[in-house]
């Protein structure tokens, strides 16, 4: 298993999570500890074992491609932090 220490800043960027310097120090140490524990999984011989994503029978679920009632748009938009007409409003995405 990989043993190099975690680049918490990089992971936090991937997770879209702003962290303080203090959090980076604490989480870095705690995640390092946890990885020390989970590295025990390397003891298991899994070479010929299939991965399990879900334990119980699963199948593809499809339905007819037909309109049906859904949540009322106004009710859904009412929960938005900011809206504009029938849209969710967000800050600038592309720099000028």
């Amino acid at each position: 298993m990989p043993s190099d220490s975690i680049d918490i800043r990089y992971v936090a960027t991937l997770a879209r999570l702003a962290l303080t310097d203090e959090e980076i120090a604490i989480f870095g140490r705690q995640l390092g500890d946890l990885l020390g524990h989970v590295n025990a999984l390397a003891e298991l011989d899994t070479a010929s074992v299939a991965a399990t994503a879900q334990v119980v029978e699963s199948r593809n679920v499809v339905r007819d491609d037909a309109p049906r009632p859904c949540l009322d748009r106004e009710r859904v938009l009412a929960a938005a932090p900011q809206r504009q007409g029938a849209f969710f409003r967000v800050p600038r995405i592309i720099a000028e």
Binding site: P2, L17, L44, A50, Q54, V55
Partner: protein, 495 residues
């Protein structure tokens, strides 16, 4: 005569159906009790007094119209990660502190259809991540058997509510032990059905390959009643299982004759100290006394359960919680560009444990580490499930501890990994998708403790063996009756 609040769900439903008492009276008594003690217990984040009164009136009307409601007038605590239309649904998180659910979870809707009345939304660890309720950002919940101790978690509010007679049934969700552990800590039945048995539509997702809804109750009969009302296929949950559900409430057993019960060689209870060792040894002997044949089974990979779980669950959590981005619902912290808005919103909205798990999961799924961590954990999961398959080729049920200790004091598990180990005995069953429950099996006074605390025996069955599992738990409960030998500290709570 037993007070309304102390009646079992089964008794309440029977009396309401027969007209001996009205749902309105039951709910009024429950609300008055909640009003008097919940300031101390802290089971609920939101009490739905007016909604509950209106629901109770409707239940009484339905009963008068001849509807045979299996849960008529039963006061219900709903964990606050399940949606109830028009009410605040917070997940114990600041990011959803003011979010009003626009629809109702299927499991909740089925309970209400069956006549149950929602008293309130119960506290939980933030997004169901924790084993003590201490990770809630919105309130403290205390164990009704010792107010200095945690109720367990993550379904700690639902457990405390039922233990303190603030509801007869609590709905919880179990991802790694979040129903069974608080059940054990609060002297309750905590029942996690087979993965996929109960619809999760409207349950706010934590780890989708593990999450399962189930009841917390004071009796096995009540757990069976709740399960019968909730279980079954739901077109709104693509992972719910489309196969017939056997009713359980009418099929409970009084003995264990003819059953083989496996005792797990690797779970040596001597390691838990003399008190717990004696309690579990006696519990196993009681199973034998009731007619079961005890055999030793082996779960060699179960010891890797916690390590496996703390890769798989955070990986799924990091993906599921990506939806909380300040755009469609919940908190937003404004910024000039969208990336900074996401990062600040999530920084302000999530607490430390949720951040930790998002970081672990993001790391385990990131390029270069995916195979070494996530895929390896999924393979370990296969081995754990195979261990159970082999064991269930030899036995009908497995008996083992629910937890490694009784309820602990606030702040006792400040190191994250020590908290993760609280689910040591419940995680393997969750990874294998199996039905399992905790049932009270004795009392022990922890070192430095002031009161005897409940201890839970865990019973686990093969996939879809709910009827057998509840039946056996009922036989054990009936013969031992540990749960009713002590009462919660409610008198002192009132004072």
């Amino acid at each position: 005569m037993i007070a309304n609040i102390e009646k079992s769900a089964t008794q309440i439903a029977k009396e309401v159906r027969s007209g001996d008492v009205s749902a309105a009276e039951i709910i009024e008594d429950t609300l008055a009790h909640v009003d008097s003690i919940d300031g101390t217990v802290g089971a609920y984040l939101t009490v739905l007094a007016d909604v509950a009164r209106a629901q109770a009136v409707r239940v009484d009307e339905r009963v008068r119209n001849g509807e045979r409601l299996p849960l008529a007038g039963v006061p219900l605590a709903v964990k606050d990660n399940m949606c109830l239309e028009g009410t605040r649904t917070t997940c114990g998180s600041k990011i959803l502190e003011r979010w009003i659910a626009p629809y109702t979870a299927t499991a909740v809707a089925r309970m209400l259809d069956a006549g149950a009345v929602a008293i309130g939304k119960a506290n939980c660890d933030e997004f169901a991540m924790g084993s003590s309720c201490e990770n809630s950002a919105l309130g403290v919940t205390r164990n009704p058997y010792d107010l200095a101790r945690v109720p367990g978690g993550s379904s700690g509010g639902s457990a405390a509510a039922v233990a303190a007679y603030e509801a007869a049934i609590g709905l919880g969700s179990d991802t790694g032990g979040s129903i069974r552990e608080p059940g054990a800590f609060c002297n309750l039945i905590g029942f996690k059905p087979t993965y996929g048995r109960v619809s999760r539509y409207g349950l706010i997702a934590f780890a989708s390959s593990l999450d399962q809804i189930g009841p917390l109750t004071r009796t096995v009969q009540d757990a069976a009643l709740a399960y019968d009302a909730m279980a079954g296929f739901d077109v709104m949950d693509a992972t719910s299982i489309d196969r017939p559900v056997e009713p359980t409430a009418g099929a409970l057993r009084d003995d264990l004759r003819g059953l083989k019960i496996g005792i797990v060689r690797e779970f040596d209870t001597k390691a838990l100290g003399d008190d717990l060792d004696a309690i579990y040894s006696r519990a196993y002997r009681d199973l034998e006394r009731l007619g079961a044949e005890l055999i030793e089974v082996s779960l060699p990979t179960a010891d890797y359960g916690v390590a496996t779980y703390y890769l798989i669950a955070p990986a799924e959590c990091s993906s599921n919680l990506a939806r909380f981005d300040g755009v469609r619902y919940g908190l937003r912290v404004e910024a000039d560009d969208v990336q900074t808005m996401y990062e600040r919103t999530r920084a302000a909205g999530f607490g430390p444990e949720v951040k930790r798990r998002i970081l672990i999961g993001t790391y385990a799924l990131s390029s270069g580490y995916y195979d070494a961590y996530y895929v390896r954990a999924q393979k370990a999961r296969t081995l754990i499930a195979r261990d159970f398959e082999r064991a269930f080729a030899q036995c009908d049920l497995i008996a083992c501890p629910a937890t490694s200790c009784a309820a602990f004091e606030f702040g006792a598990k400040s190191d994250p990994y020590s908290m993760y180990l609280m689910d040591y005995y419940t995680i393997p069953m969750a990874l294998a998708g199996l039905p399992a429950l905790s049932v009270p099996c004795g009392w022990c006074t922890p070192a430095g403790g002031s009161a005897p605390m409940p201890v839970g025996l865990q019973l686990c069955g093969p996939l879809f063996a709910e009827k057998l599992l509840l039946g056996a738990a009922h036989a054990y409960e009936r013969a031992t009756d540990h749960a009713r030998s002590r009462k919660p500290m409610l008198e002192s709570a009132r004072a």
